[in-house]
């Protein structure tokens, strides 16, 4: 039911053409669309009812992400409503409740500043948070900050003397230098340089030196939702491809009647179905047994990455020349699949997580 209403809403409010218009207008974010999404209550899907959310859980969040993946919705849903909301929820003090209420109501957007190199590696964080009086001074550079070009607040991971520490800062804090960049999929990402940015103890989310207590659940929630988004992306690209196979004629017959393409399409559908199981399972485990979700989440993200990439490669190839043209939407799916593949840990990262957890 949730899925159907989500699909109905998105087909109207955010079809793929919306992404195209945004891109053609040289923009990477559509605040009006985000307000409409918040109006649907989606920003509060993981936020307690006390803070104005609907608290429907990770399975529901994944379902929404899946539907948003289908039409390549460009919104800060993952950054704000999933990652930041889950981080704040681990703390859940008065300030965090206020912050969650602001997210649920669409008043605040968040971005997560974590990567420092070309790859996701939170444990290798080099950015420093040196002590300065009662507070800290943050120095370093963060890259690939998705939604970081427009977000109101930034969650920043830095290394204090006590260990990794997570800060929750307003994006206009003095000393933060943001460069917004266009990603290939039309999304926003920023590079943010921190030049001795001052932070107080109040800016710390959770405990000093114990970022992972807050960040690990938030990352897992984000990875699971991103996996769901990518499984939706794969399904969207696949539906477009199967539609084309049925309608397009060549050598006097529909190309979907050629057995080689039938078998490849069938194989791809099987992959999508198997990945869907892993994605659904990740949401279920995050809801039911969040302390033990690492395996389920990495399984979902790794499978979703592979499957989405197969779906877009087959999609472009089966569309032939038209799939290569910018006029056709398949290219958008291909680009988004590539960005999704890298964000929050690529296939190799999650494969190694699974290997470690399974003793391989």
């Amino acid at each position: 039911m949730l899925a159907d209403s989500a699909r109905g809403f998105l087909d109207d409010a955010a079809p793929v053409s919306a992404l195209r218009h945004l891109r053609d207008a040289g923009r990477t974010h559509d605040p009006d669309l985000w307000q409409r999404i918040c109006g649907m209550g989606w920003a509060g899907v993981l936020i307690p009812e006390d803070a104005g959310g609907s608290d429907m859980g990770h399975a529901a969040a994944g379902m929404l992400a899946h539907e948003m993946g289908r039409t390549l919705v460009n919104s800060p849903f993952l950054s704000s409503a999933v990652i930041a909301a889950t981080a704040l929820r681990q703390v859940a003090d008065a300030r965090a409740m206020d912050a969650m209420a602001a997210i649920a109501a669409g008043r605040t957007t968040y971005a997560l500043a974590i990567d420092e190199t070309h790859k996701f590696a939170p444990e290798a964080t080099a950015m420093t948070a040196g002590r300065s009086g009662n507070g800290f001074r943050l120095s370093g550079t963060k890259r690939f900050v998705i939604d970081g070009g427009f977000a109101d607040r930034i969650l920043v991971l830095a290394r204090a003397a006590e260990g990794l520490t997570l800060f929750d800062l307003p994006a206009d804090r003095a000393g933060m230098d943001r460069t917004a960049l266009n990603l290939i999929d039309g999304r926003d990402a920023a590079r943010i340089t921190f030049g001795n940015v001052e932070a107080t103890g109040d800016d710390v989310l959770g405990q000093v030196g114990d970022a992972m207590a807050v960040l690990k659940p938030a990352l897992e929630a984000g990875q699971a939702a991103l996996a769901a988004e990518m499984s939706g992306l794969a399904a969207g690209a696949f539906d477009m491809t199967v539609g084309y196979l049925k309608e397009r004629k060549q050598f006097g017959r529909p190309i979907g009647s050629f057995q080689a393409l039938q078998h490849r399409a069938a194989h791809l559908w099987c992959e999508i179905e198997v990945t869907a199981s892993a994605v659904l399972n990740a949401g279920r485990v995050l809801d039911g047994n969040p302390g033990e979700a690492a395996l389920a989440v990495s399984l979902a993200k790794a499978r979703a990455t592979s499957t989405a990439q197969l779906a877009v490669m087959e999609g472009v190839q089966m569309h032939g020349g038209i799939g290569m043209t910018d006029e056709y939407d398949m290219g958008f799916y291909m680009k988004r699949a590539r960005v999704g593949a890298e964000w929050l840990g690529d296939y190799g990262y999650h494969a190694e997580q699974v290997a470690a957890l399974r003793g391989i």
Binding site: G256, S257, A266, A278, I360
Partner: protein, 392 residues
Amino acid sequence: MHAEGSLTEFRAEIRSWLEQNCPQEMRDGRITDDAICWGGKNWVFSSDAQRLWLERAAARGLTVPRWPSEYGGAGLSRAEEKIFLEEMERINARPPLKSFGISMLGPALLHFGTPEQKGHYLPQIARGEIRWCQGYSEPGAGSDLASVQTRGEDKGDHWLVNGQKIWTSYADKADWIFALVRTDRDAPKHKGISFLLIDMEDPGVTTRPIRLISGASPFCETFFDNVQVPKDRIVGEENRGWDVAKYLLTHEREMISSGGTGLSGGRALGAVMAQMAGEPSLQDPTLRAAAIRCELDALATGLTIERYKDMAEAGNGVGDASAMLKYVGTELNKRRHELIMSACGSDALEWDGPAGSRAADWLRTKANSIEGGTSEVMLTIVARRILGLPGA
């Protein structure tokens, strides 16, 4: 459906029953064909424990936990069955009985059988008293299962059956065979077939084992020479046997597909491979990367089988998607055994060496994607019936 609370009760009840009834010897986790009781008239129990375990489980309906109690089952819901299997796994219990009667014919009889047939055959299957084999494929027909040449001539009170079946697993050990027979030669291919139950002791039935590349095999050829089959041994309507066959194939596919996955709580492939190879962990980076990918796919495939079983329970049925499960599961199982062979290296290349059975197991998996419908047939089913792609 039980509510959450009564499921907890059920778990306690079944755990206690298992504790009291499952013999210690049957708790060694062995689930290969040779360790399990297959039942039948000529079955020789490998131990008293094996006999006892069958008798106790059958008495409690747990050889066929989902079947109604009137036919020898325990009438469990899907949720209860899951709990039963989890509790079985917890104590490493062998299944008390395995048979094609349970996994294939039973579901078809429950769906298509007359009350008399159900009352007659199902309880015997549940108690392990008759062992069944299947007679589908014929020489030269290959994937085209509807290409049935074995003929059943209508002789009033019986059919006179002549012909030959191939790939009839364990036919040499079975008591009965369920077979597709052409009863109308003028009808279109799929419309003239009937589904008959034939006693292997009937005059004119003979069988012969087939030797495979993996060595001795369970497969046989079975011959029918003027076999008289009474009219009440038909399942479903005359000439509509293809409907029964299709229904039954779905069950067979589900069974074969789960070979490739194991239980999600089971051991990781990579660890199994390293242990078999006598290494602390996989040394070859290429092999390790392949093992990790296979592990990911196995976990996700296991979740998919569970998901589809849940959907079937919820009344949505698995239907044609069983083709997907069969394809994914069997291809995975082949990959898995290729990797195990690579990990074992030259150890697994000696028939008579300590790891010689690895090679036979590996070769046997090559049949997984052929038997019960080839991978190619499965992909075509998905393409045509699920995706709705047009015919040529």
